[in-house]
């Protein structure tokens, strides 16, 4: 039961694999970015859930509450999300440029246009 009890980690692992698979297997540049996002998000969830304590609340001093969740990972992930958004923006910007230059966002078609490299 303990294995199942930590179901949040299972979710993380599944999401991570799904994301990773998309990054590797998809030939469409936009879908790759989507995969990358899922991959990153799984790590975010991992951080957030590891900080969560059963029954814990936000670390604000309130009478009668003794257990708090660890706020630090949450703060870190706030930063990581910003980074992730920047990455997505960058990636999509590149895809737009690729579409302008090649008229396609399918990897194999692009490689075909460029010869072997």
């Amino acid at each position: 039961m303990e294995w199942l009890g930590l179901y949040n980690y299972w979710v993380v692992v599944v999401l991570m694999m799904v994301g990773f698979y998309i990054v590797i297997a998809q030939g469409n540049l936009v879908k790759k970015i989507v995969g990358l996002n899922i991959f990153q998000t799984s790590v975010f969830i991992f951080f957030i859930s590891l900080a969560k304590l059963d029954g814990g609340t936000a670390p604000v001093y309130v009478e009668g509450i003794t257990e708090y969740s660890n706020p630090l990972p949450h703060v870190l992930i706030l930063t990581a999300i910003v980074v992730g958004v920047a990455l997505t923006a960058m990636g999509l910007a590149l895809v737009v440029r690729v579409h302008e230059l090649y008229g396609s966002i399918e990897e194999d078609e692009i490689h075909e246009q460029d010869g072997k490299h």
């Binding site: 990773f20 990054v23 990358l36 790590v43 951080f47 590891l50 990581a80 990455l87 090649y102």
Partner: protein
């Protein structure tokens, strides 16, 4: 002055970071943007030199960001190990800027200069930040800052393939940094801290858990992606080939070096020599990878006809040399790796600069376009040859200093075959450098090729400055060897 000295570590990173948005606003005045960027890089270099002085005089510096005491606050930490890397980055930034003026004017759309230089400063800032920070999560953030800036910079290359290679770099780089993030998360679960020194103290208690081993694996793989360790190097050749020349110079000299430094920090300082090499036998993993990483890219390099691409593959091979030094797990081997960080930065930057000079005049660096170029651009080619000798590792160049120490380290470890292997692979470098020399000196220019003039002074001077450095530090070896020795001893000693 005291105040300045006191806040040097912060200035090192903050200076380029604050300058970046200002430069970005100068989009209408490309020359001004260039001047401001140059000034910033030179100031950054000044800060680095002052830091070197401080570290040599007073020992390691611990700086508390915003006055928050670690491990709660973020700590910036300067010691003999990372001061070398800081110096390399700021030196390369400073020396590639005078070079950038003409080269970038030709290769990058004028309207984008402000953005270009702003991104360059951010890349600079990110790399410096990775090196100087003493906080694991901070490393991740700076990695992403420098990476994002580099993606943009690479995509500004003239060739449309630049955009695609930037995209590939983005995907692989992001996977790498995300792995890094996972590793950091695992370490945090087990120790509750992100400060590197604190981690080093708390890790031994939880060393034998699967979580920490997984953390170690994620960190090593993630960083290996960033430093282009074979076979995770696939992003590098394209990125270096199609990026604007000046960016290739800067990135080849700094980006992978910084990643290697982080790897060293993680392996030696945070997890410690005992854990990495005695318990997990990291050496058994790194050594074969390093050797394959030297061999295969070197062979691939021989068959390249685009010289920029050839040197990019050679960079992958050189990373192999650095990792090989690490895999010996000895102070001497580590020292060889650290000294190679510096030596290869200088050598490869000089080579790429020489190529940039040729690109500036000829427009490309394929082998047939370089035929007979030595008669028209004698100074450029002379620099290329000298730096090429250094890449091979001929005595009296900096390349030899590395090879010599690597060899001694191999012998010290009783690894005769590796020593022979090292010499054999130098021969491969000889072959690919020789191919260029043969084309440039012994072939006649192709029919109908436009005769060109020697590159302008503003390109030649930085090229020659680095070339002379290749020779000077190959003869008077004391400075780099001394710095590298201190760095290696510091790393071996761990944080304690």
């Amino acid at each position: 002055m005291d105040l300045l000295i006191q806040h040097l570590p912060a200035l090192q990173v903050v200076l380029p970071m604050l300058a970046a948005p200002i430069v970005m606003l100068m989009a209408r005045a490309p020359r001004l943007a260039w001047a401001a960027t140059t000034l910033t890089t030179w100031l950054t270099l000044g800060v680095s030199i002052l830091l070197v002085q401080q570290v040599l005089l007073h020992g390691s510096i611990s700086y508390h960001m915003g006055g928050w005491v670690p491990p709660v606050g973020i700590e910036y930490f300067v010691d003999p190990a990372n001061i070398v890397v800081l110096l390399i980055i700021s030196l390369m930034g400073a020396i590639s800027m005078p070079f950038a003026l003409r080269s970038v004017e030709q290769e990058v759309d004028k309207a984008k200069h402000g953005l270009f230089y702003a991104a360059f400063l951010l890349a600079n800032c990110g790399l410096l930040g990775i090196t100087i920070t003493g906080d694991a999560f901070n490393i991740f953030v700076f990695f992403e800052i420098s990476a994002l800036a580099s993606y943009a910079l690479i995509a500004m290359g003239k060739d449309r393939r630049a955009v695609m290679s930037s995209y590939q770099y983005l995907v692989m780089g992001t996977v790498g940094t995300t792995f890094l993030l996972i590793g950091i998360g695992f370490m945090y679960i087990m120790t509750g801290t992100l400060n590197l020194i604190d981690l080093a103290q708390r890790l031994p208690e939880v060393n034998d858990t699967g979580t920490i081993r997984a953390a170690f694996a994620f960190l090593v793989v993630g960083i290996s992606l960033k430093l282009a360790l074979f076979p995770l190097h696939l992003w590098l050749p394209n990125a270096y080939t199609y990026a604007p020349s000046m960016i290739t110079v800067f990135l080849s000299a700094t980006a992978t070096k910084v990643a290697i430094y982080v790897l060293l920090r993680i392996i030696f300082s945070v997890f410690g020599y005992e854990f990495s090499f005695s318990e997990l036998n990291l050496g058994y993993v790194l050594m074969p990878l390093a050797m394959l990483g030297i061999l295969i890219p070197s062979i691939v390099a021989i068959f390249q006809t685009n010289i920029k691409r050839m040197l990019a593959y050679s960079s992958v091979a050189q990373v192999g040399y650095m990792i090989l030094g690490v895999s010996f797990a000895s102070t001497l081997g580590l020292m060889a790796s650290v000294v190679h960080l510096f030596n290869h930065a200088v050598t490869k930057a000089a080579l790429f600069m020489a190529l940039a000079c040729i690109i500036y005049r000829v427009g490309g660096v394929s082998l047939d376009r370089m035929a007979g170029i030595a008669k028209q651009m004698p100074w450029t080619m002379a620099a290329f040859v000298l730096a090429g000798l250094s890449l091979i590792g001929i005595p009296l160049t900096v390349g030899f200093v590395t090879k010599w120490h690597l060899l001694l380290a191999a012998l010290e470890g009783g690894l005769w075959p590796v020593a022979v292997f090292l010499l054999g692979t130098s021969l491969l470098a000889t072959i690919y450098i020789w191919k260029v020399v043969e084309a440039a000196y012994l072939k006649e220019p192709a029919e109908g090729a436009q005769p060109v003039r020697e590159a302008p002074m503003s390109l030649l001077l930085p090229t020659w400055a680095l070339t002379v450095a290749c020779l000077y530090f190959g003869i008077d070896t004391s400075l780099p060897v001394d710095l590298a020795n201190r760095a290696a001893e510091t790393l071996m000693g761990g944080y304690l």
